[in-house]
Every structure is written in C-alpha cells, then in structure tokens.
C-alpha cells in the first residue's frame, strides 16, 4: 500500500515549482473606457494642448477627405480612411519624442504625417508608385504595414535593441481590432513582456475588420484584457476623446521609457467610412449605427470643451480651417502631377548587388524599353 492509497494520510500541496508570477489585479483595464472630455477632470488639461489637438484633428479630417477624393480622381489606387479615428491617429503621432519609433498599419497615414513625414511620401504606397515613399530612419517611422499585426514584433525587436544599446527609445505599434486575432499580435505581446521592452501597443477598435464586427472577432471581455495573459497592463480608452488618448498614450510611453515595460491600449472608436473606397459598408451595418457614432465625433467633443472655455474663437476656427485647406490644396496639386517612374528601379533594391539572373533580366527590360522608345520615335 502506497501513501496515496492510505485514506486520510495524503494532503496534496501545490507542486513546489509553482507560484503566481504576477498579481493580475493591477493589469486589468477599467470597466469603462477612460474619458476626460465631458468630465470634471478635463479642467486640468492644458489649453495649449487642446488647441494643438484641435488644429491637428481638423487638418487630419481634411487630409482623409482629400485622400478619399483623390481615389475617385484616379490619383490614389486605394485609401483606407481614418475618418472618425483622428483622435487616435493624432494622439499617437504627438505622444512620441523625436527619437522614438512609430510602427503604423496601412490605416495610419495620419499618424505618420503627424510624425512629420511628407504627406505625399506617406501616400506612395497607396498611390502605387512604390511600396514605401519615405526613409524610415529619417522620421523613425516604419513602413506602413499591410499584413495584419506583423509589424508588432518589429516594434518589440527595435525597442529591445535600443534598450540593449542603452538608448532612450520607445516604440509605439498600431494595430486594429481584427489584427488582435492574428498570432503575431500575441507573440509580440509575449516577447515584449518577457523582455520588458519599451514598447506601447495601441489597438484602435473601430468596430469592424472590413465587414466582420468585433462580436465575431473575439469573446474577450475587452481587447485591453488581452494584455493580462501576458503580464501586460491593459488600458481601455475612449478613442474619440483626443485629450484622454493623449494622456493615456503619453503615460504609457513614459512608463516604457522609464523601464516599466509594455502597455496595451484599446481605443474604442468607430470607422465612420467604409473599409476603403472599394468597400460597401451598407452591406454589413446600419445607418443608425453610423449616425450614433457621428454624434460622438472626436472633433465635436473637443470643440465642446474649447467652447465652454471660451477658446473656440472665430480666429481659432478660421486658422484651423485655413491651414487644413492649404494642406489639402497643396496635396491635390502635388498628387495631380504624375509620379516619376523608372522601370529600371524594379531591379535596383532586390539585393545589395544584383545577381547574375537579375542582371540578365534587367538587360531584357532595358532592351524592351529601348525598343518602345525607338518605336515611339518612328511614329
């Protein structure tokens, strides 16, 4: 008879190796999205910041409208608009210090230009004259990323490398609600937590992955809760509240910068327009739903606060509008010029040096181009 078989003699104890690794309580997000606009707490917000956010939001909305118009004129191949999500985009762009890095998804052109990237260069991907139009190192902005969530581990690796080197660099990685279902999202969070990498994950939950609503995407209590399983604190924020977004992002960036490790932020927002100009949103959602979100508009929320402080003067409105119109006019003008294309560029950056096979193929294309030119001259 073994000890296990003696009734009453065996008291199971936890296996010695097991112990809780992290207290989950501080990692849990709030029950409700964090808000400042429309609450008493917004009184502490700096008026300069409010005005800056206002100007950027107005400019951002105009940029989205102009880019969408450019798709109709055939000047852009496609544009995934962030109309309705400008507060997330602008706050992301503004929360980072100069030396920090932004890892955007394809819908984050606004955040990219808020970082200082040239608006036309930011649209190169969507215009289709190349894949990335800007030098990522120049503004510390990674290429706009199309494969969902795959840029998140890059952000973790870069932040980790910077920390190993002793550099003061934080990486902010942006992803959508659909992207949180991808494996790379989970692997990135896990690596970031294990390495305590100085990285901030911003999930813009805009309600839809193209046509699929969040209810079909996840059974999690919130997307912010997804951090808890990895030992990462989750923050739930009203993504249309630019002031709250700015505060939460700034805090998370600061936490990362001072060795506190990664944060997962879920910004609850709404994609007011279709997925892209090629999508028909009426097939999967009602106008009433869209209207309800239009009533919770990020610009109007901010205007309300500015107005109640007496800051929304005619001058402020005019200045913001004029700056936005000038930006749009300049964008129109520059995008109406044909892109400079050199077909031989196709072979220029496949490898550091062309393989003999690519040399042969480049010579073939060169000959085809010369023949085209000759034929045109003869005509």
């Amino acid at each position: 008879m073994t000890v296990l078989e003696q009734p009453g003699s065996y008291r199971p104890t936890p296996p010695p190796a097991w112990q809780p690794r992290t207290d989950p309580a501080p990692l849990l997000p709030d029950a409700e999205p964090y808000r400042l606009l429309g609450t008493d707490a917004v009184a502490d917000a700096d008026p300069g910041l409010l005005l800056r956010l206002y100007a950027e939001l107005v400019r951002g909305r105009r940029y989205n409208a102009q880019a969408t118009a450019l798709t109709r004129q055939g000047r852009l191949a496609v544009y995934p608009s962030s109309t309705g999500q400008e507060a997330c985009e602008i706050a992301a762009g503004l929360a980072l210090a100069d030396q920090d890095w932004l890892f955007p998804s394809y819908r984050d052109t606004l955040a990219v230009i808020a970082r200082g990237v040239d608006p036309v260069e930011a649209l190169t991907l969507l215009r289709g004259d190349w894949h990335t139009g800007y030098d990522p190192g120049e503004h510390r902005v990674a290429p706009l990323c199309t494969p969902l969530a795959t840029q998140l581990p890059h952000a973790v690796g870069l932040a980790h490398a910077a920390r190993l080197k002793g550099d003061d660099v934080v990486a902010l990685a942006m992803v959508g609600d659909g992207g949180t279902s991808e494996g790379d999202f989970h692997e990135a969070l896990n690596f970031a937590a294990v390495w305590r990498a100085p990285v901030v994950f911003l999930v813009q939950n805009n309600g839809f992955a193209i046509s699929v609503p969040l209810a079909k995407q996840t059974a999690a209590p919130s997307l912010a809760h997804k951090g808890v399983g990895y030992g990462i604190p989750g923050r739930l924020v009203d993504g249309n509240d630019a002031v709250a977004m700015h505060e939460v992002l700034t805090e998370a960036v600061e936490r990362a910068r001072t060795g506190g490790g990664p944060t997962l932020i879920e910004a609850v927002t709404y994609r007011v327009e279709a997925h892209t100009n090629a999508d028909d949103a009426t097939r999967y959602r009602t106008d009433a739903e869209v209207e309800a979100w239009r009533a919770h508009d990020p610009i109007e929320l901010l205007e309300h606060e500015l107005r109640s402080r007496g800051l929304l003067t005619d001058d402020v409105i005019t200045e913001a509008r004029d700056a936005a119109e000038q930006m749009a006019a300049r964008l129109r003008e520059r995008m109406n010029a044909d892109a400079a294309l050199d077909p031989m560029d196709l072979f220029a950056h496949v490898y550091a040096e062309k393989t003999s096979q690519l040399q042969e193929q480049a010579a073939q294309l060169r000959a085809e181009l010369d023949a085209e030119l000759d034929a045109e001259e003869e005509r």
Binding site: P143, T150, L158, Y351
Partner: protein, 359 residues
C-alpha cells in the same frame, strides 16, 4: 546512409573537426569581431541548441547576445527584424526545418522585401540558420528539405554547406552579408569530420559560387548540402562502370552559379541533379531548366533528376527508401543515353569512357 565528410589534404598539426564545431567557431568569431551580431532562438542559451551549435556562446557573450527566446518562431524572426532595423545583425536559429514554418510570413512578407520596399534604406542583414534534411532518424516534422520555398522568394539568399570548411566560411559570409541569408545546415553532416583548424580556417569561395568537388569527364552530378557526399560516393562507385563523374557542389542556391554549372555540363554533355527535396516543384526542376536553356546543344541526353519522392517526409524506419542514395544516382547515370553521341564534340560525352569500363 552516407555521412562521410569530403576528404581534404591533411595539413601538419591539424586535428579533424566536425561541421558542428566549424559552425560554432563561425558564430563565436563573428560575435567576437562584430558586437552587433546577436544570436537568438529556442534553447540556444545554456543548452547550446539541440544540436549544440551555439555551445558556450552564452557563457562567453552573455544572455543579451545569445538569447533564449520564447517558443514562437514568428516572434523570433519578427523581433529579429526590428533588431536589424535598429542596426543589429541578428543570427536566428530555427530549431528544425519544419519548425521554421510559423515564421514564413515574417520571412516572405518582411525579411525578403524590406530592402526593396524601402528603396534600399532598410537592408535586412539577418542570418536564419535552419538545420534541414533527413537521414538522422528524426520523427515527423524533423527532416524536411524546405529549400524550394526559400528559393522561390526573391530577396533571400539561400546557402547550404557540404564541407567543414564551407560550414565556417559560408556562415561567416552569411553573417557579414547585408542581405538576408537562409542558411541551411545539413543536419546529417553535423558530425562529419574533416581536417580543419579553427585557428586557421581556410578561405572558401564566396556565396554565389559553385565548386567542382570532383572533376570528371563522363557526366556532371549537380548537387548540394547533404547529397554532396552521396554524389562523391556514387562517383567513386561509377568508376568500375567506366564512368568518370564530375560532382558540382552548388553551395548557394540563390544566387545561382549558372557559369560553373554550365561550364561543367558543357564539358561532360550529361547532367543529373541530385537532392533530397521532393522532385515535383523542387529545386531540380529549376536547375534542369536552366541547364537545358543554356546548354541544349551540348547535351547528349535529357537532364535527369534524382530527388526525394513526392510525398510527406517518411517515418524514420522508411526514410532510407526515400532518400536519394548511391544506387539511385547510379541508376540515373545509366539512363543518360550512353548509346548517343550526337553532339560530336570530340573528347567528351559517351565516347569518353574511361578504360576498363564494363558498360
């Protein structure tokens, strides 16, 4: 199963070294010379890797430069991309061929095209080491030859050594390369030995050059990695049949050395491509097509392929029936239309049997 290494001339005072030791030396020397070289992967730390290739590195360079990562290949390669974006030179270990598949999207959608996407602003100086191929009695998912997937992805270099000296030289070159290199290590050659000194590693040909391992006049065996020793053994066995076979070790599948391969085939007039990877859609089809396109008028016979059968890698007790061995290579050589001699190129082809041949 052939695991014998390729013999080299013995130099005074040298001891035999294994391919595994040469690979370890290459990693250690690269890390010593270049502080941006970081090794990362599953079990590469205190265990030294399941094949012990990273043995001792964590002790010498610390956990920050030889890092045991979480068990997630897309995460390993994805974070390595970010590290490369910040100027590091990561060397990633994928534990086994088939364990590299979760990292495919990172490899294909990012590693291979980051330089191209950014017009050269963001090169990817990454080395992805993958132990590959069969012949070690591995159970399911431990013996794949996955090189065709990598070859089909523009932007990657695909390199595979067959000798101890090449293991060191090609790995050093891969780590030094500003392009991403998929470095395929033939795991059944890990314990093959040759006369090689870690203190005086000899210079080897650069990435992109094939090397003639055995000169011959009757036919060319075009091969790489674990099949190189098989082909050398076949070439020795073929002597009694009256064939003097040339063996070309490709060493690098991308870039592909058309020049050396075609020069060999033009000399011999006959070619067999030999690899473990499945034949259909495998590397041999590309190689045979390239030879045919460039050497058609020199060929006495169709270019033949000896490859793994077109099936999922078999269980270990059956793998010997799957892997191209000496007999299968010789059977292919026998089918090279020896009765034909229609290119009438003097001093070559079927007419040029070595004396005493039984055929």
């Amino acid at each position: 199963m052939t695991t014998a290494a390729i013999p080299t001339t013995r130099k005074a005072g040298r001891k035999p070294a294994s391919m595994a030791q040469a690979l370890t030396s290459a990693l250690r020397d690269a890390m010593t010379e270049d502080p941006t070289v970081h090794v990362m992967g599953e079990d590469v730390g205190s265990l030294g890797g399941v094949f012990r290739i990273t043995d001792g590195l964590v002790k010498e360079f610390g956990e920050e430069r030889c890092t045991d990562t979480p068990l997630a290949e897309a995460g390993i390669l994805g974070t390595a991309i970010g590290m490369a974006m910040y100027g590091l030179r990561p060397v990633v270990e994928m534990q086994f061929d088939a364990f590299a598949y979760p990292a495919f999207e990172q490899l294909i959608s990012h590693v291979s095209r980051m330089r191209n996407r950014t017009r050269g602003a963001m090169p990817m100086p990454l080395t992805i080491r993958i132990p590959y191929g069969g012949g070690i009695g591995g159970v399911e998912h431990h013996s794949d030859s996955s090189e065709a997937y990598y070859m089909a992805t523009p932007g990657l270099h695909v390199v595979t050594p067959a000798t101890v000296a090449d293991a060191y030289g090609l790995l050093r070159a891969s780590i030094a390369s500003d392009d991403p290199v998929v470095f395929l290590e033939p795991k059944r050659l890990y314990w093959s030995k040759a006369d090689w000194s870690p203190e005086q590693p000899e210079q080897v040909a650069p990435i992109g050059r094939a090397v003639v391992r055995r000169a011959g006049r009757s036919a060319s065996l075009i091969t790489y990695g674990p099949s190189v020793p098989v082909c050398l053994e076949a070439a020795e066995a073929a002597r009694s049949e009256g064939w003097d076979l040339e063996v070309v070790d490709l060493r690098s599948l991308v870039p592909f050395d058309d020049e050396t391969v075609c020069a060999s085939v033009r000399r011999t007039g006959r070619a067999v491509v030999v690899h473990e990877s499945t034949g259909f859609g495998g590397p041999g089809g590309e190689i045979a097509a390239r030879i045919t396109e460039r050497c058609f008028h020199y060929l006495e016979a169709p270019v033949l392929r000896v490859a793994g059968f077109d099936l999922p890698y078999p269980p270990p007790m059956l793998e010997r029936h799957h892997l191209p061995g000496v007999d299968r290579v010789l059977d292919a050589v026998a089918r090279l239309q020896w009765e034909a001699d229609w290119t009438s190129e003097p001093g070559r082809g079927g007419a040029e049997r070595i004396a005493g041949g039984a055929h």
